[in-house]
């Protein structure tokens, strides 16, 4: 599982709104970064990493909810949730198939046809889940979501006047402080 990227510049005495802005900015970028190769069913860790990134982003939006404008947050949270659900559908099949393959390899030969028949069924479901996911992870769609989340981040910074957003250079090299 991908480790969460460190958030620079966080402080216990800093404002809740500034923490919201810093954390959501990093988590939104993580989501986009983990989308590469996610439709490849030969490497199931990619879906897992993107799913975890989605969960972290969703958790950050929920934890810092009062720092964002309600209506826009609800819309963006809805999109993140749809993405998380689609990733979850794919991931559930990935995990079940991998577990059954591992289990099947340890079972007696007469037990294997049953396991294989269930794996075949799960593979068909995995393909359908991948088709559903494809529409949600298109690069332009994810970029649009990232931009909207960037607007939410700017709104949170506006509620933390004692602190200032990190410079563009700091943001792009990931330090964010």
């Amino acid at each position: 599982m991908a480790k969460a990227r460190e958030i620079h510049g966080l402080s216990a005495d800093g404002s809740y709104a500034a923490a919201a802005a810093r954390i959501v900015a990093v988590r939104a970028q993580e989501l986009v970064d983990h989308s590469a190769g996610v439709l490849d069913t030969g490497d199931i860790e990619r879906v897992h990493d993107m799913r975890v990134a989605t969960r972290r982003l969703r958790a950050a939006l929920e934890v810092f909810e009062p720092c964002f404008p309600g209506k826009r947050l609800a819309e963006d949270l809805g999109d993140v949730k749809s993405l998380a659900d689609a990733l979850g559908e794919r991931r559930d099949r990935d995990v079940a198939i991998a577990a059954l393959e591992e289990l099947g390899a340890t079972m007696a030969a007469p037990d294997r046809p049953g396991i294989d028949s269930l794996i075949d069924r799960l593979r068909a479901e995995q393909l359908r889940a991948n088709e559903e996911l494809a529409g949600l992870v298109a690069a332009d769609r994810l970029e649009a979501l990232r931009e909207r989340l960037g607007d939410l981040v700017a709104e949170a910074w506006a509620l933390a006047p004692e602190e200032s957003p990190p410079s563009e250079a700091a943001r792009s090299n990931g330090s964010g402080s």
Partner: protein, 223 residues
Amino acid sequence: MKARRVKKLDPGAPLAEIAARIVKVRLDELRSFAPRAIDKHKVKAQHDMRIAAKRLRYVLEATEFCFGRPGETARRRARDLQDVLGELRDCEVMLPRVREHLEELREQDADAIRARAGDAPDLDPRLVAQAPHRTAYRGLDSLAVYIEARRKLLFDRFCELWRQQEEKGTWDRLERAAERHLARARERRRAARRAERAREKLADAEGDEQHAVERARHARRPS
């Protein structure tokens, strides 16, 4: 399971204070499910507890540095709980799927055998040996037994993990760390109110002094 609402989340307040408020509610939520979740029949409570553990874990992922070691330990144990309860959940979901798949194969086989019997007045028992999925039954039955046994093992692991953490005071230490932040926040607010009152008194005193000076000046002026 809808998350319990956390009150008084002021965007301008210090992160540590808000994190403490959220952590206290999420921790309380997690603990509230335990008495039911440790009953093996209460599957819904186990599912709710997994969600509660996930919520606590993710709040701590963003804010654990505010709580020191108790925050980090609680985050790790919340992840362990989420993992074991997640695997338990997977068994709960998989078991009926295996049974349903087996049932469908049996239905298909019955239909296939019936079709092969054609217009015969009764079914030839030898046709059963030609059932297309007959070799799959055994593996699926074995799989169902395996999942059922694993579910029991995971449930025991969950109960043991919960008991250990209660014994070690993992959640109590996190709660105390959160309480300390809230106590400091209360003290800060009291100090701010005292400072505000002192400023008002000073302003009043300065006003009174100004009036006194004005009155004295009027009194000295020749009529």
